[in-house]
């Protein structure tokens, strides 16, 4: 392991950036995903203080940091561990610390329940489609914001950000009225549209920062040797902005994947995705079923977060939320 303070700082930054992302998705219905997303940095954070004790004397300051890390680790891992235990529990009654018996029966149950299987399929259909539509709509806007003196670009960015700062349910109720009028309620397109809302802020801010960080001379140079504007975009600009766009697409994917409120309002009963299914599982089934489903729901989050770890650490995400 390298320099300890650097490692610590990276871990802290990662925790803070990922937390920002999780909060901004407004995915409070699926707490499991937020914990899943932060699992990676937490692992790093927990590892970091160990060699510090070996190399340097234990000062009160260092001890406080170590304690803080421990609390953070418990805070993040505790619920996740509890969830895992429940997913494999047969019988578990208070005040026992561990389940009295273990069972895989709820896993079997979930995989044999057609409605649940269908919701998994739907979630994995909506998320990629929403991500792609979001990219097609937002990337040109992000490029324009980064490259041209668009009037009110700053206001636009702030408004996009602010739209995520308020409780969405109010917004959705209003939108529902509009969707009824446009016959979008209960339609596939309606669900895509409502899920799109939560992805716009990532798909605009982060790629805009990536585009802006590409020196204009690189594009000029390509035009100079004969490339048209369009070709310059696809052969120079896009490849160079790829890390930022990649991070944005992952966050958009997760935002769509976790979206429950809007999908519940617009999609039910035709389109019940995994997070929406969680509602009925929590209310109608024993905790084991919900736990199994929550574990399933957090798998893509963890996998994708591991995938973009490099880019998140590389600062593409942090850069995206610097307002210029």
């Amino acid at each position: 392991m390298g320099d300890v303070p650097v490692e610590l700082r990276r871990a802290e930054r990662l925790v803070s950036t990922v937390t920002t992302g999780a909060e901004a998705t407004g995915a409070e219905a699926t707490g499991a995903t937020a914990t899943g997303a932060t699992a990676t940095p937490a692992t790093q954070a927990r590892r970091a203080p160990a060699p510090a004790r070996r190399r340097r004397p234990l000062t009160p300051g260092r001890a406080a940091v170590g304690l803080g890390m421990l609390v953070l680790a418990i805070f993040i891992f505790g619920p996740l561990l509890w969830l895992m235990l429940w997913a494999f529990a047969g019988v578990w009654h208070y005040p026992s610390l561990l389940p009295q018996s273990w069972s895989l029966s709820w896993w079997r149950e979930i995989f044999h329940y057609p409605q649940l299987v269908r919701s998994v399929g739907l979630s994995f259909t909506f998320a990629p489609i929403v991500t792609l539509v979001s990219a097609v709509v937002c990337l040109p806007a992000a490029y324009a914001i980064a490259r041209f003196p668009v009037p009110g670009r700053r206001t636009l960015l702030v408004v996009l950000f602010a739209s995520n700062a308020f409780p969405k349910i109010g917004l959705y109720i209003t939108i529902a009225g509009l969707f009824y009028a446009l016959h979008l309620m209960g339609t596939f397109f309606g669900v895509v549209l409502i899920q799109l809302l939560g992805t716009v802020v990532f798909m605009t801010w982060i790629p805009a920062a990536s585009f802006a960080s590409i020196p204009r001379a690189l594009e000029d140079a390509a035009r100079d040797v004969g490339a048209s504007r369009l070709r310059v975009f696809f052969t120079v600009t896009l490849p160079l902005a790829a890390p930022g766009i990649f991070v944005a697409m992952v966050l958009a994917f997760l935002a769509s994947f976790d979206e429950a409120q809007g999908t519940f309002l617009v999609g039910v009963p035709n389109y019940i995705t995994m997070p929406v299914q969680m509602y009925s599982l929590v209310s109608d089934y024993p905790p084991q079923a919900a736990a199994v489903f929550a574990v399933l729901l957090s798998i893509p989050s963890v996998a994708l977060m591991l995938l973009v770890r490099k880019h998140v650490l590389g600062g593409a995400l942090a850069r995206g939320f610097e307002l210029r």
Binding site: A217, D220, A221, D224, V225, G226, S228, V236
Partner: protein, 366 residues
């Protein structure tokens, strides 16, 4: 006319007139420098030639074709950018090949031309490296190769040496000049470094405030700077107020002889008026004998020569510079005379006072 012809070019950026009615001709095969301080409009002019900026008015013609309104991809120009602007996600080979591939040439042809060009800039063995793995000088050469491989009619260089360290700069500029002469390609080179401009150019356009002050070769520019701006910008020149008398000049209140026998018989130089007298330091003779007229106030070593600051008698503010050898530089009271002097009025050169060409009356543009 062939080559680059710019006529009455204007450009306003913000509220500032950056390029002001600029006209310039670059003959085929010539290397022309746009030289001037920052903000003089030289880069703006270059970007208009390359097509990255649209001029407000005026025309740009390259080899007889009016390119004024063409976008950069349709101009026969190739530019080397100040920071090289190499594409970091492509190898050296791909950087150079990019433009050729756009022209839908067969793969072997592209390969052959890129390798030949990399050979010219000595980078064949680095073809599969990425720009980040190259030194500054190598990146510079890749940028040059990328521009030249398209065989443009006009090569544009935007301060291409400003990011190299001083030693490398001299080597690379000679290399650029050598390649440019070998390919006989018309070139416009923007720089704020007079040394760079004087050493590699066929002609130099000295710019100030969006205008060309003087367009001349290095010799003419140095020997006969047509305006006081050029005089102060190129080389070192002392400028002091003075009058013409039969024996020479009266600088301030101090009589200074000039080695110009015909001066006394040159009535076309007005006597009663005050001139702005420009004196190159190497034209000042400093003697310890004779009747002293000046005092050495400071001695600045420059390695192989020394620079003296001389305060002329008569008033305390008139100071001129002189270059002397390093052996026994004069100190204290000295007698001075001039080999040559330039007379300016209203910022423009009016007369040269020199022995070879006793009196040159108002010089017309060369």
């Amino acid at each position: 006319m062939d080559g680059l012809v710019i006529e009455h070019l204007n450009k306003t950026l913000g509220n500032r007139l950056v390029v002001d009615d600029l006209s310039l001709r670059v003959a085929p095969g010539d290397l022309v420098c746009l030289l001037g301080p920052s903000g003089c409009g030289k880069t703006t002019t270059l970007r208009m030639i390359g097509g990255f900026l649209q001029s407000d008015s005026g025309t740009i013609t390259i080899n007889g074709v009016d390119v004024t309104t063409l976008p950069p991809e349709r101009r026969p120009t190739a530019m080397v950018f100040q920071n090289y602007a190499l594409w970091p996600h492509m190898t050296v080979f791909k950087n150079v090949a990019y433009g050729l591939r756009l022209r839908k040439l067969a793969r072997p042809v592209v390969e052959e031309r890129v390798v030949a060009m990399l050979g010219l800039v000595n980078l064949v063995e680095k073809r599969d490296r990425h720009p980040s793995e190259l030194s500054g000088g190598e990146q510079q050469r890749v940028a040059l190769a990328r521009a030249l491989v398209l065989e443009p009619d006009l090569l544009l260089l935007d301060e291409p040496l400003s990011n190299l360290d001083a030693k490398l700069r001299v080597g690379v500029r000679e290399e650029i000049r050598e390649i440019q002469q070998r390919l006989q390609i018309a070139t416009v080179f923007v720089t704020h470094d007079q040394d760079e401009a004087l050493t590699i150019s066929d002609r130099i356009a000295v710019m100030s405030g969006g205008r060309i002050e003087q367009y001349d070769d290095a010799d003419g520019l140095y020997r006969l700077p047509q305006t006081s701006f050029v005089a102060s910008f190129i080389g070192s020149m002392s400028t002091v107020p003075g009058r013409v008398v039969d024996a020479g000049l009266l600088l301030g209140a101090c009589p200074v002889p000039v080695a110009c026998p015909a001066l006394a018989a040159a009535p076309e130089i007005e006597r009663g008026v005050e001139w702005s007298v420009g004196i190159r330091p190497e034209d000042v003779r400093v003697d310890t004998g004779g009747s002293p007229t000046a005092t050495v106030v400071k001695e600045v070593p420059h390695g192989h020569f020394k620079e003296l600051l001389l305060r002329l008698d008569g008033d305390d503010t008139t100071v001129i510079r002189a270059y002397v050898g390093t052996e026994h530089p004069p100190t204290g009271r000295v007698a001075i005379s001039l080999a040559r002097a330039l007379l300016y009025r209203d910022g423009h050169l009016a007369h040269e006072v020199a022995p070879a060409r006793p009196v040159v009356a108002a010089l017309s543009a060369r």
